[in-house]
């Protein structure tokens, strides 16, 4: 088993679906920030078989965790202070996600209007369906493009 050292303050994102850690990494904007990050891919998991883990040494309030819930609300977020887990954060799907994904409907105003934020709203919490605020087009991971 691969060992990665403890972090003193920050976040440990556990139970990420295997292969999804880089998606989370990009959506959290970690590629544009200076925080130390450890990405563990394909770690063994009793519950999931394989999983990814993301460790970020940072101010715990520095990141928008709603984005994580949008990608996968089953991810466990551990808040670390002084080297210990002080809180396991329960994520709920955000009502709105802004500038995380783009609308791919070629007829949507967001494809031509300058400086228009890309806003999606939670249309169906049970089925995890998000829709474009402007044209109501459904977000699908396959068809949509990431903001980043």
């Amino acid at each position: 088993m691969l060992n990665v050292g403890k972090i003193e303050e920050g976040l440990v994102l556990d139970h990420i679906k295997a292969g999804k850690s880089m998606v989370i990494y990009k959506h959290l904007g970690l590629d544009k920030l200076e925080y130390p990050v450890a990405i563990i891919k394909n770690a063994r998991s009793n519950a999931m078989g394989k999983k990814d883990i993301l460790k970020v040494e940072c101010d715990v309030d520095a990141l928008n965790l709603d984005v994580i819930a949008f990608i996968d609300p089953d991810i466990t977020v551990n808040i670390i202070r002084d080297g210990d887990i002080v809180e396991k954060k329960q994520l709920s799907m955000p009502r709105m996600v802004t500038n995380v994904i783009r609308c791919t409907n070629p007829r949507c105003i967001s494809t031509i209007e300058q400086e228009l934020p890309q806003v999606f709203y939670l249309a169906d919490g049970r089925r995890k369906i998000y829709r474009c605020r402007y044209c109501d087009e459904k977000y699908t991971e396959k068809g949509s493009k990431s903001w980043y």
Partner: protein, 305 residues
Amino acid sequence: MRHIIKPDDFSVQELEDLFDLATDMERNPDKYAHVCEGKKLATCFYEPSTRTRLSTETAMLNLGGKIMGFSDAGSSSASKGESVSDTIRVISCFADIAAIRHPKEGAATVAAMHSTIPVINCGDGGHQHPTQTLTDLHTIRSLKGRLSNFTIGLCGDLKFGRTVHSLINALARYEGIRFIFISPPELRVPDYITEKLEEKGIRYEEYISLDDVMPRLDILYMTRVQRERFFNEEDYVRLKDFYILDTERMKKAKNDMFVLHPLPRVNEISVEVDRDPRAAYFRQVQYGMYVRMALIMTLLELHVD
């Protein structure tokens, strides 16, 4: 300040009040002839329209107000690349209320976000067309005397037909509405509409053949297959004549069924049907003008004694 971007921006009770006002305007036009004196309506039409623009402008003129605006994108700053948000900010400095039609879906939402005057969405691409919906609701209410407990068939282009989408959403708020969708497979109702119906437990049926369902309908809402919504001319040519309502088909319908159509008609309703007293699409135009009058007055928060 209020806008109307989609039909459910108004509650069912507010719509009842609006339709009552429209009915009173029809019966007592003189009472409302000066209510908008000193007020200006800007019609910002980025794509061609005859009925909606003229109906909205006539509504304002009937209320004693003035009108201004543009009727295609070429004669506006949009041709110079101006954004919708900038255009509406400018229009807000001149007019008291704006009516906007734009080929892009969600354009009216963007306009409302930046406007300091009420915005009326007169159609945003294939998305929503609430003033047509208010027209349709007011027509049904006036003809049938109610907006509940009837079976409506919607026929034709149910995929790109924005009037259809808005009407379904609006009728879904009333009791006992049974929807029958009649379309070729390529032009079925989008899933975001049917998902909402399923969530609310509202029944709908989908058919390809119009003949199969004619006897069951209380309202038949016909639509045109719109050339401008197709990226591919071949698909348009293949689908444009899929449904044609003629006198033979009308024989299968109930005596008190009414045929509605948002117009313009191409050939999906034979002109011979026009003589049938159940053909209500030209009366629908008249109802539309009154409901737009009521809407303008309501959004401007004006009252008469």
